[in-house]
Symmetry: C2
Subunit: 434 residues, 2 copies
């Protein structure tokens, strides 16, 4: 079942009531489509309005690729891969890279073109030398340096490996009409899917951007979309006080005004770290502008309780935590007795490990509360495609509302161009360097 | 060659001069051993004073384990594994988990006992079911919940797998005299190595804590120690103005006083992310106390320029960056031409990828500087054991100096106990839960 709840909510009721009229304005403006950045609202009703015909083609193409390859390379950076990777890592077991295709339930995904590391791409080509491979490149324009560079190298590598058949192993998710990748794909005869014009990268996981590679990997993309649609309906509620994404948006904004400048998204399952990375882009890129914005950071517990735990418990009091709790684990294991009671922890004998992890969450929340760290709890029934689709949509809408409440355009990213401009100038003039 | 330099230094010379007298006091007090936390200064001269006899035994034991296993499980949390993992990931190629023992140059390391995830440990046991395995547990007391729980499960698993021979496949790095793990090891007949009493976890990477598993993996531990010894000598300089760790410590402290509350450690090579995790513990746990301290965070570029880049360029102006630059790459690859100039990036044709990555660093530094982000550049000649050993020692001493300048004890971590106390109470009473 899908069930996503909020708990804790460290603000007073009158603080919430003071924000309700503003929330109603923002709600109306978002749903009427006259807010800041209103050219990029395609994600809002996408889980309901998406093209069923196109989604069918995505699944058919995924089936073809699944049959053809043991490894799918996903070339993309930022919003062109983070949502895909977040879902993929969350749904796969640990150490999935060592599993066979049958054990894994589909081809393995390899994410590349998201850095400029020499060792990374060389090792990928060596790794896949004797592996049946296909490639999906995700790039709206085709001109972003990192994926374009990786794609040049890998296209050549695939053409050497498969000759003319390489074109049947390359799929482009790109602009529908124009752009250099669209042109190239048409010339080369690659299959293509469209990145909608009205959906920015960080809001695009439910489009072919995320759904094509996830379907290739064997992820239940219908479940993801159903979870998103469920959450969309739930969050349409005009009665803003019932609406959990409004609760979340307002709470974090009030905490910011009280000097809580850093938000830590906390999980208790290390493989969820790419959900954190996706979330950091979503909120960081949406709100970090005009010299404003909460700094989004992540932590994996209990791991980081033994590294960042001291800081969180008693460092500068400028942080709050948003904690992800998963109520039901897929599997469990009982802690065996220590035959000679060597470790002095007899109170864990025979206890399920998932229970100990959940007690760690409760004990940590209590400790951090005592230490002065406000907390928001986001609970999922279980980590499956439906709950995960719902969670991602929840964060997307909360982020839009939060940005609009803060008076910024949550759908643009003007600051991303600055480093590119300098980099292109350096490359063109070939000044400086090592 | 080993060569570690600092550059940029975004403070004025008179700001530095104003701090020199204080630095001299801190320098003397650290080296005389009468500073705060002076019971934990064993790391300071360790690269010179370490027991050569013990180091020889570490290497001999590593040789024995290397012959015996294809996988070494490292059980430990926080400072008991982060330094090991930082060095291991930095020195291994990408996708090393798919390599054979011969290709990798030694057994693969698997890090566990650093969380309470059910799926993680179940998947590890499945992964290693048919693999020759040995285990090193690193725990000063043996009573820390996470490693103790994993060790119970894995000890039983190894005993089922190897019977009585399991005891020859388990090595404990623990207290030299007392403690439950030491007792257990003596009863069971495990080989043991000592965690020195005067070195805290986050300063322990050059002791058997890090050196034993790293030597098993085939890392050049002599090179690591030589790099640390080189850096120790370099940083003894009483003339504080020549001393790069003092420059770093003072610069970050002055930036903090100017409202730069968050330090981002930036790398341009994704596999260095565990150096960031190690560094976050080092600085976070040392300085995050008494409601003070810079928040240590990490970023991998250019990856995160497409997620956190907007925030860094133009969000709240409360951050500064410490950028790791590696001057020479081990290998390189030339970007091929785009045969139909599809991507419009003809200026990268035929350029080495490592040069493009380095231009990205220069272009980004310029962009972030324009955006109001102060930066410190830490340059390594290359990513090898010597430079890495030097880098880790550099950060350790800079951290100690920085903490003492801020008037905190950089060697304790009183806040780490709070969550454990609650967790143990919950487990003992079995109240609450799911």
């Amino acid at each position: 079942m899908i069930d996503i709840k909020l708990d804790y909510m460290p603000i007073a009721n009158h603080e919430w009531i003071g924000m309700e009229p503003l929330l109603k304005v923002v709600h109306n403006s978002l749903h009427k489509g006259d807010c800041l950045g209103s050219d990029f609202l395609g994600w809002l009703d996408y889980p309901e309005n998406y093209s069923k015909e196109e989604f069918g083609r995505v699944k058919a193409e995924a089936k073809r690729l699944r049959g053809m390859c043991d490894a799918l390379i996903v070339v993309g950076i930022g919003g062109s891969y983070l949502g895909t990777r977040a879902v993929y890592e969350a749904m796969m077991p640990y150490y999935h890279e060592s599993l066979s295709k049958a054990e894994r339930g589909g081809p393995a995904l390899y994410f590349i073109g998201n850095d400029l590391s020499t060792g990374h791409i060389i090792a990928l080509m060596e790794r896949l030398e004797n592996v049946e491979t296909a490639l999906v490149i995700v790039s709206k324009s085709g001109k972003t340096l990192e994926p374009a560079t990786a794609f040049r190298l890998l296209r050549k590598w695939l053409e050497e490996k498969y000759g003319d058949d390489a074109k049947d192993r390359i799929v482009a998710v790109t602009d529908g009409e124009k752009g250099v990748l669209k042109n190239l794909a048409d010339k080369k005869g690659y299959r293509t899917f469209v990145v909608p014009d009205d959906i920015g990268g960080r809001y695009s996981v439910f489009t072919p951007v995320g759904m094509l590679p996830l379907a290739v990997a064997g992820i239940d993309v219908d479940g993801l979309m159903a979870g998103a649609a469920y959450m969309r309906n739930k969050l349409m509620d005009e009665n803003v006080s019932n609406n959990i994404c409004y609760r979340y948006a307002v709470t974090r904004m009030i905490l910011l005004r009280k000097g809580k400048l850093i938000e830590l998204l906390v999980n208790y399952e290390p493989k969820l770290i790419y959900i954190t990375e996706w979330w950091k882009q979503l909120f960081g890129e949406s709100e970090g502008k005009d010299q404003k914005g909460i700094f989004p950071a992540g932590a994996t517990f209990t791991t980081d309780l033994h590294s960042m735990g001291q800081w969180i418990q008693d460092g500068s009091r400028n942080i709050f935590e948003t904690v992800l709790r998963i109520r039901h684990e897929k599997e469990d294991i009982m802690v065996p007795e220590d035959e000679i009671d060597g470790d002095g922890l007899d109170f864990i004998d025979g206890k399920p490990l998932s229970l100990i992890n959940d007690y760690a969450l409760l004990g940590t929340s209590e400790a951090h509360g005592t230490g002065g760290v406000p907390q928001i709890l986001v609970e999922l029934d279980r980590m499956d495609e439906k709950n995960l689709g719902g969670l991602l949509y929840f964060f997307m809408k909360a982020c839009a509302i939060s940005g609009l409440l803060n008076g910024v355009n949550p759908f643009d990213q003007p600051g991303v161009e600055a480093y590119k401009t300098n980099l292109y100038r350096l490359l063109q003039s070939d000044e400086g360097g090592k």
